[in-house]
């Protein structure tokens, strides 16, 4: 559905994207992870045709991005981190503008606002909305066009956990409807929870690519089993026959409370690969 091959981009002599290759399958959520300034937004802009690339190929919906027609573009929804909302207009009027552009009946606008949980703010001027509500309005604007592919640039950046969870639910709902979703984030928890595949972007290069759980397993160098016992003590075991026997004994005696593997999260994987944190 989305394919990038050898994408290269420089700004004033500084390389911001170098040899980017990636593939996003239809109906999947793809996460581009990286700290601020890694090149995530630049890559989204190149893929969506907002920014020219220096070299390489981008194919989207089976066509080169340069060959996309107006009808193709209507199948692509984009929510960038800068909102693009008319502050003086109500939520309803904001969406009506885009509904008219896409030729969508007005009754769908109300439904879209209800779907994103803005039913109480339908007549509220967008300028009076909180950041989370503005993000929801941006999502509603993307959703009304019923796109096949959705690009979300940092959809939960700066939001509280409850609002982030609500937005995660909306994204998962869209995935269930068959949408392909490309999102950028520097939140590894968000990526692990939502994404089928992730790419870790560091200083314009993809340093790792894969299924989040598989990446965690790949970088599990410790190969340890972490036990929390009923008496409050913690215990670390190797992968061995002796450890299996120990676990069996603890379980039989009801002394084992929880059992964990030592797989690192994506934050730790990124730190190992780049020496930097995702939040940096």
């Amino acid at each position: 559905m989305i394919t990038c091959q050898a994408i290269h981009k420089t700004f004033h002599g500084t390389t911001v994207l170098e040899n980017i290759d990636l593939h996003v399958e239809e109906g999947k959520i793809f996460g581009l992870l990286g700290p601020s300034g890694a090149g995530k937004t630049t890559l989204i802009k190149i893929i969506t045709g907002q920014l020219p690339k220096d070299s390489g190929d981008v194919s989207i919906l089976g066509k080169s991005v340069e060959d996309l027609t107006g009808r193709d573009r209507n199948q692509i929804g984009i929510m960038m981190d800068q909102f693009g909302i008319y502050d003086r207009f109500s939520c309803m009027d904001n969406l009506k503008i885009f509904a008219q552009i896409y030729g969508i009946p007005t009754d769908k606008v109300r439904k879209a606002l209800i779907d994103v949980g803005l039913e109480q703010a339908i007549r509220t001027p967008a300028g009076k909305l909180s950041k989370g509500m503005r993000n929801r309005l941006s999502l509603a604007r993307v959703f009304i066009q019923e796109p096949r592919i959705i690009f979300l640039d940092e959809p939960t950046s700066g939001l509280d956990p409850a609002t982030s969870r609500a937005i995660h639910k909306l994204i998962m709902d869209k995935k269930r409807e068959g949408c392909t979703i490309f999102l950028t984030t520097h939140n590894m928890d968000e990526a692990s929870r939502l994404c089928d595949h992730v790419a870790l972007l560091h200083e314009g290069k993809i340093v790792e690519y894969g299924v989040p759980l598989e990446l965690s397993r790949k970088y599990d160098h410790q190969k340890k089993i972490l036990l929390h016992l009923a008496d409050g003590e913690d215990e670390t075991l190797d992968y061995s026959e002796t450890s299996a026997g120990r676990i069996r004994m603890l379980m039989e005696n009801r002394m084992l409370e929880t059992i964990h593997s030592s797989e690192p999260n994506l934050e730790t994987v990124f730190l190992e690969l780049t020496g930097k944190k995702l939040e940096d």
Binding site: T48, Q50, G70, R73, N74, I78, M80, Q82, F83, G84, I85, Y86, D87, R88, F89, D93, I97, F98, Q100, I101, Y102, G103, R141, Q145
Partner: protein
């Protein structure tokens, strides 16, 4: 034409919410309405305030409004979202330009009515205003395209506005300013308003207006090619 109509409707809906733009549209028509009806001095030329304010209206309102609308949309990224939603830059500019032209023509009709222009006189007045507003829109759109935000737009609009709106007024009192101002379309409008008849218009004045149209069209096209609506 569908997207032009969407932009046009959006702008009309925004008129009463956007006080900055609204004031520009109504200030001079309201001032003319008041002054023409309240101040009558002996020896004062006929329709003095209507003619004076008309030139100022053309030099200020369309210029400020178009530049302000475009630069605000650029600053708040709404323009980018519109373009990504398949609105062509030409459609957007046509929508904003038509909106500004229509509102300015309503304003100029109020000024014309305040001066009690009727029949041919009113049509001549509206024609001159229509051409003047169009030239100002081209200049305002070019400035809006060059400006990255509203503050920059205001800084760029201000000198152009002062020149176009005030040079014709000052040329009444200073011959040197008058000589310079004659190259401006607003000064030529001011001279046309004195006769209020197109048949009595000097060829030099008509040529000057045509040259202004050409120059500002070229400026608009350069801005569109260089900056577009990015």
């Amino acid at each position: 034409m569908g997207n032009v109509s969407v932009i046009l409707r959006k702008q009309f809906k925004d008129t009463f919410k956007n006080k900055t733009v609204l004031i520009q549209f109504i200030l001079f028509p309201v001032m003319t309405l008041i002054m023409e009806n309240m101040i009558k001095l002996e020896g004062m030329p006929e329709h003095f305030f209507a003619k004076l304010f008309s030139v100022m209206y053309v030099g200020m309102a369309p210029l400020t409004c178009v530049a302000s609308i475009i630069s605000e949309e650029k600053e708040k990224n709404t323009l980018r979202v519109l373009i990504m939603s398949n609105v062509k830059p030409s459609e957007y500019l046509l929508g904003v330009g038509s909106y500004t032209w229509l509102l300015c023509m309503i304003g100029s009709f109020v000024i014309g009515a305040s001066a009690k222009f009727t029949g041919t006189q009113l049509m001549t007045y509206e024609f001159i205003m229509g051409v003047g507003v169009l030239i100002s829109i081209l200049l305002g759109a070019a400035i809006g395209m060059y400006a990255n935000n509203q503050m920059m737009s205001t800084s760029l609009v201000m000198p152009a506005m002062m020149l176009l709106a005030f040079a014709p007024m000052l040329s009444m009192f200073n011959e040197k300013i008058g000589k310079f101002a004659q190259i401006l379309y607003t000064e030529q409008m001011s001279r046309l308003f004195l006769a209020m008849s197109l048949s009595e218009a000097e060829a030099k004045g008509v040529v000057c207006v045509l040259v202004n149209i050409l120059v500002f069209t070229i400026f608009f096209m350069i801005a569109f090619r260089e900056k577009g609506l990015e």
